[in-house]
């Protein structure tokens, strides 16, 4: 048999993503422009927050100057400037010019997940316009490092075309200028929505955007409060696989298994470690070096199956928190009513995560009908809503009827999942897989906010009713008296006024009907919807249309 037909070759990571750029969200000019904007903005936000700096981001999209002999209508110059800590001179070229080189490979929450986005934007710019990227960075406010460079895709390495050190203007930060093919007219709606929603979950950031028409949008910060920056964390036993375990063993110098466990795993103390070793039938004094390949597999299984490990704590996570989330919502949506539910930390496969859900009622910015805004690690997710776990929960897991929310209520649900590892289904970071643990937390949080809006709306309704009729008894009792007089043929009205007075004394009963109703068990239709909701099999009565609007399916009676 000839062997000439099969020729083997190797490609670099850059080459891989160059060939398969669709995978990273760079599938067409409109989508690519959107992806480039968000990847660079998210890098900037991550950098600022890691140093507890209030982000001040400037984004400009323009047609590039020059190029007199051709039309550049579809080539855009994208500039993203931040006030972050800057990038060390020695790292700049690789950080932006090498795929799989970056600062996002630690076990802590960050917007970036794949260490890929910024480089992809630059790579895409280069293959569509052949223009170098210009990076400016200052880490001390004194010197500004300026680098013009391109990427050698075949070797996955930067080619520096020009490099200079200039005096800086006193502030630190990084700016990236990349020229790329784009389609702003088609991308503009998503880009605007992206900034609007980014401002919503990052209300401590100033963001300035100048579009190709020169229109400036300024999203001003509404709070000085920054979320606590996440800390790097040790791996949780439940999320440890054979490969990870082997690496830890190799790196650690711990004399015995007990120490080894306590030092290298998240929330494993002496007591739990001993319990675990007993469970796994491993001698606590044994040296980790002695573990055979077979032992490592057994140990991994044991780590997965031991149920007494503590759940991950949230120290490596940086949720928005109720206050910041409310601030952002108030700022961008200005609703009549807002409520936020922050769930305690939970974990899937050993990765900790926190779900935060906001509910907005009566915002003029939102149309009628239910809307869903999705966020993950403070990134808005704008594409492929129908595949997302939040969408699934709202569509299939919530019994909307119970909350008696009018069909066209101006309601928005805002879900935010933060985690050391967001379970994205694609490199394009657009939707979350339906991990059962995440699904459960989202469900509980949504139910929580729905309960609150239900009670808000009920109370609002009650108050309005009470306002309209200062005393419900004084309205109805005279009517009962009149009708009964007529029916009984009596000559005068019955002496019911004393009764009315007795009611007048107990005015509280009419003012807070929700809480003081004495015969609560009889008023079933009102309280039932909120009882035992967690246990009961739920009926699905609300469906999202393709546009994300909520529509009601009536159940016709037999």
């Amino acid at each position: 048999m000839p062997d000439s037909k099969t020729s083997f070759s190797e490609i670099s990571p850059s080459e891989f993503f160059y060939r398969n750029r669709d995978l990273a969200g760079f599938s067409n000019p409109a989508r690519a422009l959107y992806s480039a904007v968000r990847e660079l903005v998210e890098n900037s936000l991550d950098a600022c927050e890691a140093y507890s700096i209030h982000p001040d981001i400037y984004v400009r999209i323009t047609a590039p100057e020059g190029s007199p002999n051709r039309t550049d209508s579809n080539h855009y110059l994208l500039k993203v400037l931040d006030n972050g800590p800057g990038v060390d001179a020695k790292h700049i070229s690789r950080a932006f010019g090498r795929v799989f080189f970056g600062s996002k490979y630690e076990l802590k929450q960050a917007r970036g997940m794949f260490g890929l986005g910024g480089t992809m934007a630059i790579l895409y710019g280069q293959i569509t316009t052949n223009k170098p990227v210009v990076i400016r960075s200052s880490t001390d406010g004194k010197t500004l490092e300026v680098i013009h460079m391109m990427i050698d895709i075949q070797t996955n390495s930067p080619i520096i075309l020009r490099r200079e050190s200039l005096p800086a203007n006193g502030s630190t930060g990084t700016s990236v200028e990349v020229t790329l093919e784009g389609d702003y007219p088609r991308a503009s709606i998503k880009i605007q929505e992206y900034f609007k929603q980014t401002a919503l979950v990052n209300p401590y950031a100033n963001i300035t955007v100048v579009d190709p028409q020169g229109k400036l949008s300024f999203y001003e910060k509404a709070t000085e409060q920054l979320p606590t920056p996440p800390r790097e964390t040790l791996p949780h036993p439940h999320g440890t696989d054979v490969e990870a375990l082997r690496r830890i063993i190799k790196q650690s110098k711990d004399p015995n298994m007990l120490k080894f466990l306590c030092k290298n795993f998240h929330r494993v103390g002496d007591k739990i470690a001993r319990k675990f070793l007993d469970f796994a039938k491993i001698d606590p004094t044994m040296s980790p070096d002695q573990l055979s390949n077979e032992d490592i597999v057994t140990l991994t299984d044991a780590l997965h199956n031991f149920e007494e490990f503590l759940q991950p704590d949230g120290s490596c996570l940086s949720p928005l928190g109720e206050e910041i989330m409310k601030t952002g919502i108030m700022k961008e949506l200005d609703p009549e009513f807002v409520v936020v539910s922050v769930r305690p930390p939970a974990a899937y496969s050993g990765f900790p995560f926190i779900v935060e859900v906001g509910l907005v009622y009566g915002s003029k910015q939102l149309g009628p009908g239910l809307q869903l805004l999705r966020f993950a690690n403070r990134i808005p997710l704008l594409y492929d809503e129908g595949n997302d776990v939040s969408w699934k929960v709202m569509n299939e897991e919530i019994d909307w009827k119970r909350y008696r929310i009018p069909q066209d209520a101006p309601l928005a649900i805002i879900t935010h999942v933060c985690s050391t590892k967001i379970p994205y289904k694609t490199v394009g970071k657009e939707y979350l897989a339906d991990r059962i643990e995440v699904e459960r937390e989202i469900k509980n949080a949504i139910r929580d906010v729905l309960r609150k809006v239900y009670s808000y709306l009920s109370h609002k309704g009650s108050l309005e009713m009470v306002k309209r009729k200062t005393n419900i008894y004084s309205h109805f009792l005279p009517l009962i008296a009149k009708f009964s007089q007529d029916l009984s043929g009596a000559e005068a009205l019955p002496r019911y006024k004393k009764l009315l007075e007795s009611r007048g004394m107990k005015d509280s009963e009419t003012n807070t009907p929700e809480t003081n109703t004495p015969e609560k068990e009889q008023s079933e239709p009102d309280t039932k919807p909120l009882e035992d909701e967690e246990q009961k099999e739920e009926k699905k009565i609300l469906r999202f249309s393709k546009e994300g609007q909520l529509t009601l399916e009536e159940f016709a009676d037999e």
Partner: protein
């Protein structure tokens, strides 16, 4: 010939219901006058409190009751509406006027006891039925749908303006609407020996044209599908007052069977009422077995039909006799036919052949 012998039955009934209504008012008045928050107690209408009575062969309400109190801030509004309805219907009966269900809904607005929608006012009407154990027709509240009657029956109206006027129900060959006047008319005289209720207006017209009333000495009733309660009440009266047997002829499907069942054994929705069933009535067809026997054009049962059969099989009213047997036949042959299907053999075949055979057959079951 048979003759109705309770001449003033209808007007007695009306007086009776007024007394009951007034009693509610009196009780409430007394309470109020004694500075007590009045209450009303009625049988619960929830599914849990529906009991099948095998002797009556119908559903009745069980023992469970519920109390509506004017003291309860959530109940005072429906309580007032109920008292208003008593007041309103008392006026209706005394003035000899009728009202539709829809009219009740709107009328409340003049008295500041408005309902949020008609289902709410319909509910209160049913509450009053339960309290009084009387059908709404007894207090002059009617739905819109009406069916028709034809046959040699002399009636005498009791409604205002027509008191004492008579009519023979063969005098209009399109049939007579069964409305408030006819429901409350006295039955004076008849030469009829049987009552035949048919499900469809087209067949009703055919029966009249083919003189079924003469050939079979029958009074013919068009139930227009599932008959309105006034028509079931009419059937009940015809059966009871004239002592005539009632035969029901429906389409050859389970919906037809169920129409017959409701006429004969009452409906679950009206479990609180006893005067709407004709327990001696007989369903004479079209049976599932007739589809085979008469080689009728048919269409297959749909999935929904089959689901419905299984539901009915769990209903105690279907637990025996022709009811259970024909359900099984439908399930087995998985076909259904309409009454009009007999037209395949000529327009008059159903009268010339099918009807006499089935009436004969009915004697033996």
């Amino acid at each position: 010939m048979s003759r109705g012998d309770k001449k003033s039955q209808s007007s007695i009934r009306k007086e009776d219901v007024r007394t009951l209504i007034k009693n509610i008012g009196k009780r409430v008045y007394k309470d109020l006058d004694s500075q007590i928050f009045p209450t009303l107690t009625l049988h619960t209408r929830s599914v849990k409190n529906l009991v099948y009575d095998p002797n009556l062969r119908q559903y009745v309400l069980g023992a469970s009751t519920v109390t509506r109190s004017s003291q309860n801030i959530k109940q005072i509004r429906p309580f007032t509406q109920l008292i208003w309805l008593a007041y309103f219907t008392d006026k209706l009966v005394s003035e000899g006027k009728t009202s539709t269900l829809r009219d009740v809904f709107y009328s409340a607005q003049a008295f500041d006891v408005e309902f949020s929608d008609q289902s709410e006012s319909d509910d209160i009407i049913t509450d009053l039925e339960v309290i009084l154990s009387r059908a709404r027709e007894d207090f002059n509240v009617y739905p819109e749908e009406r069916s028709a009657i034809f046959g040699d029956l002399d009636i005498e109206y009791t409604v205002k303006g027509y008191e004492g006027r008579g009519l023979n129900l063969t005098s209009h060959p399109d049939g007579f609407l069964i409305g408030p006047s006819l429901s409350t008319a006295e039955f004076i005289d008849t030469s009829a020996e049987i009552i035949i209720a048919v499900e469809k207006g087209g067949l009703f017209t055919r029966f009249v044209e083919e003189k079924v009333h003469e050939r079979f000495k029958a009074i013919i009733i068009d139930t227009a599908g599932q008959p309105p309660r006034s028509t079931r009440y009419m059937l009940k009266r015809l059966s009871q007052e004239l002592k005539l047997p009632v035969y029901v002829m429906t389409d050859g499907d389970i919906y037809g069977e169920h129409i017959a069942m409701v006429i004969i054994s009452g409906s679950a929705n009206a479990a609180h009422l006893r005067d709407l069933a004709v327990p001696t009535g007989k369903w004479i067809g079209v049976w599932g077995s007739d589809i085979i026997k008469y080689k009728l054009p048919s269409i297959p049962l749909s999935d929904i039909d089959i689901k419905r059969v299984h539901e009915l099989k769990r209903d105690p009213r279907y637990s025996g006799g022709i009811w259970a047997k024909e359900l099984e036949v439908f399930l087995k042959i998985k076909k259904k036919s309409e009454l009009e299907a007999f037209a395949k053999y000529g327009l008059t075949t159903i009268v010339d052949k099918y009807l006499p055979e089935k009436l004969e057959e009915a004697k033996s079951y």
